[in-house]
């Protein structure tokens, strides 16, 4: 059916569809006015419309809306970023948003533009580069370049830049709105050249010059925005670097940008050429209308631009609005004005070969000035076209190939596939298609996810993106047999999904089962590769890190034995790696991290002495890294973590002085890191933990005031971090822990109402978190702790009935966790404490027999714990619980009471002298002796 006929059919069909079924046939007969053929056609289609019903094509194959980063909907309005309060949004795009903002501290009256950047800068190296480039850009001080004032990362880790707020109009729009004549346009352009020249002399390349990046203020002064921003946001490194980003600013992009060749100042000259072209002709150098991105990319690399004079529309071509010709005395006059010098100047700037363009913006500007003064210009036709043709001919194949690589991700897949279908046989086509799907999946998975990972509130969107991409990759896995590179890629993808699902180390969705599943899929792919090729370091290290990820998840799910096993395997892979011999820093860092992880697990499984040994190893490895590269923060980060861990273990083994020493070392290192990089949320989080550790250690030495000061600093740090990303489960847990710490101090100080307030704040958070992920061992344990603490505070405040209820709830929770994993010894310790607390409350309420039962349970729990971990602290605690039981049994059960207190005494007296030199031991001993003597 041809277009005309179809339109005629639709005339009738469209209206008929809107009518009820009964009205249709009458209407169609009338509307077709005797055209029998038309009537039959419409009736046939109406019949099909009915048959198609609701279902036909109404179930889409995919809902791409679910793939759009929710960030498009996010808004920072009203939020505080650094010292700036966000006022309103003034622009947005795929890379992030730009907001108008003002300083909260009122230091300056001036408003600024804050650009939030939607790219992941997750590694310290990329962040470091971001800060370094920012320094360079901040040093650009030119009246026609918008200043970069500041930059950093938000609490949630989103990088942002603070820039001069420019009130103005984009260059092309300004010229049209003000009906600027040719001379005025050229003069304005030379001013822009001067600003570009200034930046080039300071070795800063803009990389994205286009009219919308050049605003003209009310006073008619041009202001260049975003100088060099493109580079500091280009974090992809050697990755197919790209493409998405470049393709979208295609119109002003140079051939070398499209080919991925090195960017120089000549790149900006080219873009200036396109801008000038547009100012003079209102056209793109390559086409009348709009080209599809892949066609445009090809033209930029391949096609010689039309001379500006021939791009000016003739009289018939003149149209409304944007046409510059309308503003001048007419197209013919403009043609004449452009012919010759200006043609040559523009085409010289647009040369495909960077070295054939103007050597500087100043030279281009000088040529324009010479033209304005009627002097001969340096640009000649010869320097332009001849060379260009030659160049393109010489590079044709490469140019085309690179353009296709570029386009495959950026929306040109269709074009690539079409070409492939025409050009090649079935086998090659299948290969191509396969590559396309893989690329698409990859770009969904990595580029989109990376882009939104650090956005607050982006976690659900990440899950969807990842899930969708996994559907493709799941299909590819079976086809990947024998293709190692693809297998590694798929394994990496599984690891990434697992991380989003439930890697407890990162912000995650709390789906630990799904995470484990994904990590195991990665293992299943990596293990055969590593086995078949023992020298494949990449596979080996990917395998090691997968084992550690599994270990992390298992550990958080309460499977300590499994977690230890996987961590041990991972560490062994590092320790036996041939890379140890080369002293590679990256490797040393990874090995240190692994050693630390293992130490950490040993510690939480109760193997304190072994943990201390591993922590000392990790600290030693870190010191070597710091010594080798003192300016690298990584070494310090590792060292701080290791000494913290060591300090914490020493605390538990009773080596209080050495513990405090190590923990203070950790705190100092972390304070130094925050001082250097105050906006880094990770550093601030770690500093908060350091305060916690030092506070706890001080508490052990009874320096309550100093401890409280540290806990307060901890709470403040966690509070501000949580405010920035309220959905992050880990962040909320940290805040809850901080409340607990402070509550503990108040309990010691007998300030019970204040303690209760802190514990209740903690309880509220823990309840929410446990409800979100009911299978999460840690979340349940946390909740049981806060219940226990609230119960104790209530008890102290005389609210015994309430207290008993809350304590019972906490105990029931801990008992269920015990069944969940008998290896988790520490639950016994917590349970014993909970039993004792409840028992002592019951005594106060006169429920003596119930109390005795709970003291017995406390003793049993302590025994179970001591069997596994026979530290001095546990022995003392066991003795204490026997004494408590004896005390509760009292005169009414004198014989049994005597027996229990004797056991207590015996346990204490068996302890070696080294473990006796502390207050807790002395109090326990005195109590046991007293009970023993009165029950004898």
């Amino acid at each position: 059916m041809n277009t005309g006929r179809w339109q005629a059919v639709r005339e009738v069909l469209d209206r008929a569809i809107d009518l009820s079924v009964d009205e249709r046939s009458g209407f169609v007969a009338e509307a077709c006015a005797g055209d029998r053929e038309l009537q039959v056609e419409v009736e046939s289609l109406l019949c099909c419309y009915e048959q198609a019903g609701e279902e036909f094509l109404n179930t889409p194959v995919i809902d791409v809306r679910s793939l759009v980063p929710s960030a498009y909907e996010n808004s920072y309005i009203g939020c505080r970023i650094g010292v700036y309060q966000i006022v309103e949004e003034i622009g947005r795009g795929g890379m992030g948003e730009v907001y108008r903002a003002s300083r909260v501290d009122g230091q300056f009256d001036k408003q600024v533009a804050v650009k939030l950047v939607r790219v992941g800068l997750e590694t310290p190296r990329l962040l470091e580069r971001f800060y370094m480039e920012r320094q360079i850009l901040a040093s650009l001080d030119h009246p026609d370049i918008a200043r970069l004032y500041d930059g950093g990362t938000t609490e949630a880790g989103v990088p942002y830049l603070v820039m001069e707020l420019i009130e103005g109009t984009p260059l092309d729009q300004y010229c049209d709105e003000h009906d600027l004549q040719l001379r005025a346009r050229l003069q304005l352009f030379t001013q822009i050249c001067a600003a570009v020249q200034y930046a080039h002399q300071r070795l800063v390349i803009h990389r994205d010059i286009k009219p919308s990046n050049i605003l003209v203020t009310k006073d008619g002064a041009p202001k260049l925005l975003d100088f060099g921003i493109a580079k500091i946001l280009d974090t992809s490194g050697s990755k197919l670097d790209t493409t998405l980003y470049r393709a979208m600013t295609l119109e002003y992009a140079s051939p070398e940008q499209i080919r991925g060749a090195p960017i120089t100042t000549a790149t900006d000259i080219y873009s200036l050429g396109v801008v000038l072209y547009r100012l003079l002709t209102a056209k793109s150098p390559y086409s009348e209308g709009t080209l599809a991105p892949h066609e445009l990319a090809r033209s930029i690399c391949d096609i010689e631009p039309r001379r500006p004079s021939s791009a000016v529309p003739g009289r018939r071509g003149m149209r409304d609005g944007v046409d510059v010709a309308r503003a001048s005395l007419g197209a013919e006059k403009r043609k004449k004005q452009l012919k010759g010098d200006l043609d040559n100047i523009v085409l010289k700037a647009l040369n495909k070969e960077p070295e054939r363009r103007y050597a500087s913006a100043e030279q281009m500007s000088a040529d324009i000035r010479r033209h304005l003064e009627g002097l001969p210009v340096a640009a000649t036709p010869d320097s332009v076209t001849y060379r260009t043709r030659k160049f393109v001919r010489r590079h044709k194949v490469g140019v085309l190939a690179t353009a296709f690589v570029l386009l495959a991700v950026a929306g040109g897949v269709a074009a690539t596939v079409r070409e492939a279908r025409i050009a090649s046989a079935n086998a090659r086509r299948a290969e191509r298609r396969f590559a396309d799907v893989r690329k698409l999946a990859d770009s969904f998975l990595f580029e989109f996810d990376d882009a939104i990972e650090f956005l607050p509130g982006s976690t659900p969107a990440r899950a969807l993106v990842v899930k969708r991409a996994m559907e493709y990759l799941g299909g590819l896995a079976a086809e990947a047999a024998g293709d190692r590179a693809l297998q590694m890629e798929i394994a990496a993808a599984y690891k990434k999904v697992g991380k989003v699902q439930g890697d407890p180390i990162y912000p995650n969705l709390g789906d630990s089962g799904g995470a484990l599943d994904s990590f195991c899929k990665a293992l299943a792919i990596l293990e055969p590769i590593a086995r078949a090729d023992p020298g494949n370091e990449e596979a080996r290290l990917a395998l090691a890190s997968t084992h550690q990820q599994i270990s992390d998840v298992l550990s958080f799910s309460g499977d300590t034995a499994g977690a230890l096993e996987h961590s041990r395997i991972a560490l062994a892979m590092y320790e036996t790696s041939p890379t140890n011999l080369t002293g590679d820093t990256q490797f040393q860092k990874a090995r240190t991290t692994q050693t630390y992880h293992y130490a950490n697990l040993l510690q939480s499984s109760g193997a304190l002495n072994e943990a201390a040994v591993e922590y000392r190893k990790a600290a030693e490895l870190s010191r070597q890294i710091v010594a080798a590269s003192p300016s690298d923060p990584d070494g310090k980060i590792h060292l701080a973590a290791s000494v913290d861990g060591l300090g914490y273990v020493l605390q538990q083994t009773g080596d209080t002085a050495e513990a405090l020493d190590n923990l203070r070392t950790g705190l100092n290192i972390r304070e130094g890191l925050v001082k250097v990089d105050p906006n880094n949320s990770h550093y601030r989080r770690q500093l908060a933990f350091s305060h916690q550790n030092v506070g706890l250690s001080l508490l052990a030495t009874n320096d309550t005031a100093a401890a409280l000061a540290h806990f307060r600093q901890e709470l403040a740090l966690f509070g501000s971090l949580n405010a920035a990303d309220p959905k992050d489960a880990q962040g909320r847990r940290n805040l809850s822990l901080a409340h607990k710490m402070i509550g503990d101090v108040f309990m010691r100080e007998r300030q019970f109402p204040r303690a209760l307030a802190e514990y209740e704040a903690s309880l509220r958070i823990d309840r929410d978190l446990a409800a979100i992920d009911p299978n999460n061992f840690q979340a349940s344990l946390d909740l049981s702790f806060s219940e226990g603490k609230v119960g104790m505070a209530l008890g102290k405040l005389g609210k015994a009935a309430q207290a008993v209820n809350v304590l019972r709830s906490g105990i029931a929770r801990q008992e269920s966790l015990l069944g969940h994993d008998a290896q988790h010894f520490f639950v016994y310790a917590h349970l014993a404490t909970s039993y004792s607390s409840l028992a002592s409350l019951l005594i106060e309420r006169g429920e003596k027999y119930a109390a005795i039962e709970y003291y017995r349970k406390a003793v049993a729990s302590r025994q179970s714990l001591s069997k596994e971990v026979s530290s001095a602290a546990n022995q003392i605690a066991l003795a204490e619980s026997y004494t408590n039981l004896a005390k509760a049994l009292g005169p009414a059960n004198r014989d049994e009471a005597f027996e229990e207190s004797s056991i207590s005494l015996e346990i204490l007296e068996r302890l070696p002298p080294a473990d006796r030199n502390n207050a807790r031991f002395r109090v326990a001993l005195a109590n046991a002796r007293f009970e023993c003597s009165v029950r004898r």
Binding site: R10, L45, G91, M95, E167, D436
Partner: protein
Amino acid sequence: MVAQELPEWQNRAHFFAVAAQLMRQILVDHARTRRASKRGGDVPRVSLDEALGQALAPDVDMVALDDALKELAQMDPQQCRVVELKFFAGLSNDDAAEVLKVSPSTVKRDWASARAWLFRELDRSSAP
């Protein structure tokens, strides 16, 4: 005050437009390969079938649909794009209207008559 622009996906509409075309291309290409391999007795690629063919595509003959869409594009290119956006990308009338820069009621009309026409074409192609 004018927006200080940012590059990359210009906006949601642009993303949708690209995604819809990609989905069509991938699904149809896949369906064609599958058809070819069934005829040629090639090794069946079961998992990819599952991932792309069955998991994503409802009960529609992709190859026939693609052929019909090519013809529809000749008759009315905009109607073809409406089908791409709604069927291959799951867009609502409002979203599709935003992409095509037309009113939602135009999208609704285009969609209704396109469905009627496509139904007939696919019906024909499946007839023996």
